[in-house]
Symmetry: C2
Subunit: 365 residues, 2 copies
């Protein structure tokens, strides 16, 4: 409909869709472009009748303002880049989702860039993002460990690290509160009357492993419980290690644990399998709590696994808000740890109230 220029398209060549511009709208409405702009953006003083005429002309033409032109003018592109150091993994996804959800409310688009641990690729991505004049950049990683600062030469483009950190205290980083999450889990076990609580976890080169161990110890300490020797078992992030570690725990003649707090859900699954295979009932004989609340895993264990949730979606949303803040020119910096929560299922013998219940450490602002 309408008299859009319908030029013939030579085959095999880029076609520029014949979209109507604000000029077309103005012409159809019988006003100037300036007036049309005012009408469409609802600013400036305008006679109601004129405004309506413009609006309906716009509707008739299917007019949609060109953000590119708008951005060129305003010096703001309404886009941000999301660079994932490693490929998009299990942890990155909910963060992405939260971020995108938050930013799309402000009409901001998110470019996804995957650097797959390749510094050169990362640099290329940064180049491209800067070329596209992104208003900000979010960096995520596999685990919330330290990484070199993103090499962005251009000043004025805020960079936010989520689920990752740098060594520079000036940078703004958002990570889950691993220690608090661990404390939450262990306190829950203690609250259920468990006294001999073991901790099977991943490699100590991960900061998360150390923080969760600290949380485990803090909870024990506060309750006046000892940490039996050999009950802290760092290893690797796998089911196999979970099984092995259980074997190790039971082999010792100092007595078995009555609860196990695992560094992630895979380990927990291995542990539960090993316990069952040895005839130890979960949760009656041994209660088990995992970490990550990876649903597909936590719900497949027998019995379903109580687990710490890092609330990554919320982390992502928070990242969005923080970035908006930075984009508005506010200085934001330093490390912020967001609270984890505990998702209770059957593996620790709590009165699981039908559906999984969540319990939060403290309220996020």
């Amino acid at each position: 409909m309408a008299d859009g220029p319908e030029r013939s398209r030579p085959m095999g060549q880029a076609v520029r869709p014949a979209r109507s511009t604000i000029r077309d709208v103005a012409r159809l409405a019988g006003v100037s472009v300036g007036t049309a702009s005012k009408a469409l953006n609802n600013n400036g003083a305008l006679r109601e009748e004129t405004r309506e005429r413009v609006i309906s002309a716009a509707r008739e033409l299917g007019f949609r303002p060109n953000d590119l032109a708008h951005s060129l003018h305003r010096g703001q592109s309404l886009t941000v880049g999301l660079i994932s150091t490693d490929s998009f993994g299990r942890f990155t996804i909910p963060i992405m989702e939260g971020l995108e959800e938050c930013l799309s409310d402000s009409r901001i688009g998110v470019f996804m860039c995957n650097a797959t641990d390749d510094m050169e690729r990362e640099a290329r991505h940064v180049e491209q993002l800067l070329g596209k004049r992104v208003d900000g950049i979010v960096v995520t990683a596999r685990r919330a460990d330290q990484r070199p600062k993103l090499a962005v030469a251009t000043p004025g483009v805020p960079v936010l690290y989520v689920f990752s950190q740098t060594d520079d205290p000036e940078t703004c980083c958002l990570v889950p509160d691993d220690e608090g999450g661990a404390r939450l889990a262990v306190e829950h076990l203690i609250g259920l009357g468990r006294r001999r609580i073991a901790h099977i976890t991943g490699p100590e080169r991960f900061q998360a492993v150390c923080l969760r161990r600290d949380g485990y110890r803090a909870a024990l300490g506060r309750a006046g419980l000892p940490e039996p020797e050999g009950f802290y078992l760092p290893g690797v992030w796998s089911e196999g290690w979970g099984r092995e570690a259980v074997a190790e725990l039971l082999r010792s003649r100092k007595g078995p644990p009555d609860a196990i707090f695992c560094g992630n859900d895979q380990i927990a699954r291995g542990a539960i399998d090993a316990l069952r295979e040895r005839g130890l009932l979960v949760p009656d004989a041994v209660a088990v709590v995992g970490f990550d609340n990876w649903e597909i895993m936590a719900e497949a264990t027998r019995p379903p696994l109580t687990s710490v949730d890092m609330n990554l979606r919320t982390l992502g949303r928070e990242a969005g808000l923080t970035l908006l803040d930075m984009m508005a020119g506010n200085e934001v910096r330093g490390l912020r740890r967001l609270p984890c929560s505990l998702v209770v299922r059957d593996s620790c013998g709590a009165k699981s109230t039908g559906a999984a219940a969540a319990k939060t450490l403290d309220d996020s602002p």
Copy 2:
């Protein structure tokens, strides 16, 4: 360095980074903007000395062309949108990665949009993407099933469905060849001498379930093998169902299977667990093959699981190439099925050559 305009920044207000424009470069090099443009884009005839002077001026100023301005002029934004019907899941990720990898080679940015099964959100995303003048849109879904066509009013913006389809044969869809993948798996089992092959799978409302079943039957048929009664077991996509189905198979007095082809890896995992718990050795007594090659799952089963890989990364890359083709103005349409491959591990008793070996059905163009 250089005399960039260094205006003072009022706190709490958007800061427009003081980036240098081609004007600045031209000025510094002592030429006109037109000349600078030619020099930087390496077109037109220019004295070598001039070109060099411009280049070095650009370098000195840290000049980076503004894609927004470029796009406004060219009518091409060098961006595409990726809309995921459901949230970004296990299947979407490798597709995204492949797509992004492919497109970033052409300096094309990918906007990620998550519609979470909400038609209204989806529509809003489409609006935003069109506002940003994306050059194309890719749609993905949870499983490669039919969905309504994307409501894109604007003509000239190509839409490509990946791992999803519409009812309109005119749309361009890219999906994995489920039937071929299933055939591959079952033929492998037959090649290893298995004769009584069962098939435990998901709900029949998924097209994938039907296609994989067809592939299973086709392979049996070609080998002249019967499909024993009760050996085809549709159900749900869970470990629990895998265990249950195995119980069902063994309960029947018509004799147990000597191999099970599972509709996905979770079912396979449940099946393997159930077999082990009943003292049936895998692969000696019963060989098992899964589908999806979800590594974290396939490698955690005992023994590690042979599984069909849908090559989703390749699918994503192929999607990128196809979209580039469409963006170039070429008409591409219809449904294309890309081959799956088989990743051999220990669960079916093949001579697993150390690392997992891959076997492809046919070569993709």
